[in-house]
């Protein structure tokens, strides 16, 4: 089978790829720092939700973990656990991202202000 592409076909494909790329770029630049919030759960229990818009430091679990929110990102700055995995993890800011400290059973999860949970699926 021979694939015959006219000049305009190729141009169309290039344009579409460019638009897709631009849309992706725009999403990465604008879409990330919407007024999201993080939820903090300890042992499965919701301990609080904090806005990513304001800079703050949160002591979790009576001080075993310290979560720092700065410039719209949440970062675990201190933890008393031996592995320090959550501390070494990069800061989170996007919907669905999470920091998990397993030894202390702490889960920090980003939720955007608008819920993006699926409420309907069509085929």
């Amino acid at each position: 089978m021979k694939i015959n592409l006219e000049k305009k076909d190729k141009r169309l494909i290039v344009v579409i790829v460019c638009i897709a790329f631009l849309a992706l770029l725009a999403h990465l630049v604008i879409g990330t720092d919407g007024a999201g919030k993080v939820t903090v759960k300890v042992n499965g229990e919701l301990k609080g939700t904090y806005s990513l818009a304001e800079d703050q430091e949160i002591e979790i679990n009576g001080g075993t973990n310290i979560l720092q929110i700065k410039n719209g990102r949440a970062d675990m700055t201190e933890a008393d656990c031996p592995d320090q995995l959550c501390v070494n993890q990069r800061a989170v800011s996007r919907q669905g991202e999470s920091i998990i400290c397993l030894p202390n059973k702490v889960i920090v999860e980003v939720e955007s202000s608008e819920s993006s949970e699926l409420d309907a699926v069509t085929n």
């Binding site: 076909d9 169309l12 579409i16 897709a20 085929n123």
Partner: protein, 163 residues
Amino acid sequence: MKSRVAYFGVFTALALIFSYVESLIPFQMGIPGVKLGLANLIIVVALYKMDLRETYLLSVTRVVLSGFLFGNYFSIIYSLAGGLLSLTVMACLKKRGGFSVMGISVAGGVFHNVGQLVVAMLVVETYSVMYYLPVLLIAGLVTGFLIGLVSNEMIKRLVNIQM
């Protein structure tokens, strides 16, 4: 031509069968909402074989029937928006000339997804679904390309049918 109605029936039946086959295959490709769009194959071929009014009629008939048979109320709205937008764009490109079946099919695939995204935006009333645009554009490009390959071959072999 007296065989118009018969051909229209055959095309409708084919489009319906393709919709059915597609609903049987859990064709997921890891991305929700991305389908091959087999029925679009018929629409692309019809675009070249029928006049525009009948192609529109075929598209609407196909969507409504397959929606009632295999889908639900929402899938009809989504498919109708996608189908009509994609058909309109394809017809415009075909009229402008210079595009081969491949290009027209690619545009159709892409705008099918764009139309559905626009409806999703209106239904959910948020612009946040826009983050899905790049995925849908590329997916439409790929599926449109595949459909274009097949419809190109089909149109070549269907020389005897002209309505």
